[in-house]
């Protein structure tokens, strides 16, 4: 983990609910896809955690969904504004477990960390199969970015307006060695139940500090109480109890 000042280089709407935020600064602490950052925002006390969508030598991108006061404020911040950011938070995905044919499954805002994951896997010569689920055609996110990596994601929409009608689980009948998933809790549970393979899922949580100090985001797991921010946000399928 590292604290640093970052400058907003891009803040543009993608869909009605989502925008893309690019921040530039020292990204040395970001080591793995699936890690997150915590932004200090003017007028708010608690930092806001966001999964890293992708990063390079100069900065990182976040996919911001409008869910409350913090994200609303964030959407209004101008290019050039400086923000205090904690980077390299949490344990990310374990790329060494991918095997030859990993499946990447994302739902809604959960597609975000899968882009960086797909890029890093591709760099290692692993071609994942990607399944992305959205409510409708207007909600599609990052599709072009996955195509630019030479991947052709399978898309599902709840209303059938694009790709396969239904949930991501409708598109999972494909042989895979391992899966990585991020999305709403019911989706993650359905994915874990459907896949015969081992896998990792990234959880979302309301956090206090984001670095393991406050115990604000603890969940019960098969291995005992675990902090989503520090022990996760990526957990092994077998460790999740789905009690919430």
């Amino acid at each position: 983990m590292k604290q640093g000042m970052f400058t907003i280089a891009e803040n543009s709407p993608l869909t009605e609910r989502f925008s893309l935020l690019r921040l530039e600064g020292d990204c040395a602490a970001i080591e793995r896809p699936g890690q997150f950052v915590a932004l200090m925002l003017p007028g708010l006390f608690l930092r806001r955690p966001f999964s890293v969508c992708d990063w390079d030598g100069k900065g990182f991108q976040l996919l911001i969904e409008q869910v409350g006061k913090g994200t609303e404020l964030l959407r209004s911040l101008p290019v050039g504004q400086e923000l205090d950011v904690l980077t390299g938070l949490g344990k990310g995905f374990d790329l060494s477990r991918a095997g030859e044919r990993p499946l990447l499954i994302g739902g809604g805002s959960g597609v975000s960390p899968l882009l960086a994951l797909a890029r890093r896997l591709a760099e290692r010569g692993v071609r994942p199969h990607v399944i992305l689920g959205f409510p409708s055609r207007e909600d599609l996110l990052l599709l072009d970015d996955f195509f630019r990596l030479g991947l052709a994601p399978t898309v599902t929409t709840d209303d059938g307006s694009f790709g396969i009608r239904g949930r991501v689980t409708e598109a999972m009948d494909i042989p895979h060695t391992f899966f990585y998933a991020c999305g709403p809790l019911p989706m993650l549970r359905a994915v874990c139940e459907k896949s015969p393979a081992p896998g990792e899922v990234s959880l979302d949580a309301r956090m206090g500090c984001g670095f393991g100090a406050c115990m604000g985001c603890t969940i019960q797991t098969a291995k005992g109480p675990r902090r989503v921010c520090k022990d996760g946000p990526v957990f092994e399928k077998e460790d999740l109890l789905w009690t919430d």
Binding site: Q3, F45, G70, G208, C209, A213, T218
Partner: protein
Amino acid sequence: MDRLSVSLCGIELTNPIIPASGTFGYGHEFAALYDLNCLGTFSMKGTTLSPRFGNPTPRIAEAPAGMLNAVGLQNPGVDAVIREELPRLKAVFHKPVIANVSGFSVEEYVEVCRRLDAEPQVGWLEVNISCPNVHGGGMSFGTDPAAAAAVTSAVKAVTKKPVIVKLSPNVTDIVSIARACEDAGADALSLINTVMALRIDLKTRRPILSNLTGGLSGPAVFPLALRMVWQVSRAVSIPVIGLGGVSSAEDAAEMLLAGAAAVQVGAANLRDPFACPKIIQNLPAVLDRLGAETIRELIGGAHG
């Protein structure tokens, strides 16, 4: 003694800044960021006899200039703290540490204190009779002078270490609780714990926290905490540790002037993990600005 040092129950602190219990875990997350030995000391996560999971999530909510928490005393239990946390801490922290103790009965407070009394790393026992987020214990001991005195004297009987009693602001008359603890043998007092509070989610029309209410902390409570530290330090002759919304060296100076012998920093650690080293670094400049040679000169200065 140098400019920043203070004394707390006969133990010298190189500076008065102490991360508060519940915002600093058992130190390890912060030890990865900076040398913990720059701190006066710190207060470990509230520890009970048995392991506790705490409350279900959500446990945290934003507030104007602060936050609510209802963690509910999640901790691995006193035996795990002694077996795992203290040895791990020994490698990175070479000063006496404050062990914060919680319980649901006088017997539980006594037993946890008895076990921690045997640990040489523990310099002080901070008895938390003020947690607002658990039921049937915690704060119920801190809202009644007789119950507060009963816990204090029972704990004093089983330890030679200085006992700090941590007080709740959720009372009509904090001075009467403070006096009862002093009379029962408390060596010091720390105040304030969080202020019982509520947030409602407008979308669901329900309280945000699963525990419904939570404890408010952060800059929002600073003037309230300062007032209580001022009142209590006038009324008792034992040291008072001031806490509640302290986020800068200037805030710490106000606490000292209000009568605090040392200052704990809580929620600020969660917003800025480097809050305490920054405050310590800024203290000499604040002393210069106040025309004070030492921190000790400031203590109680506002009482005239």
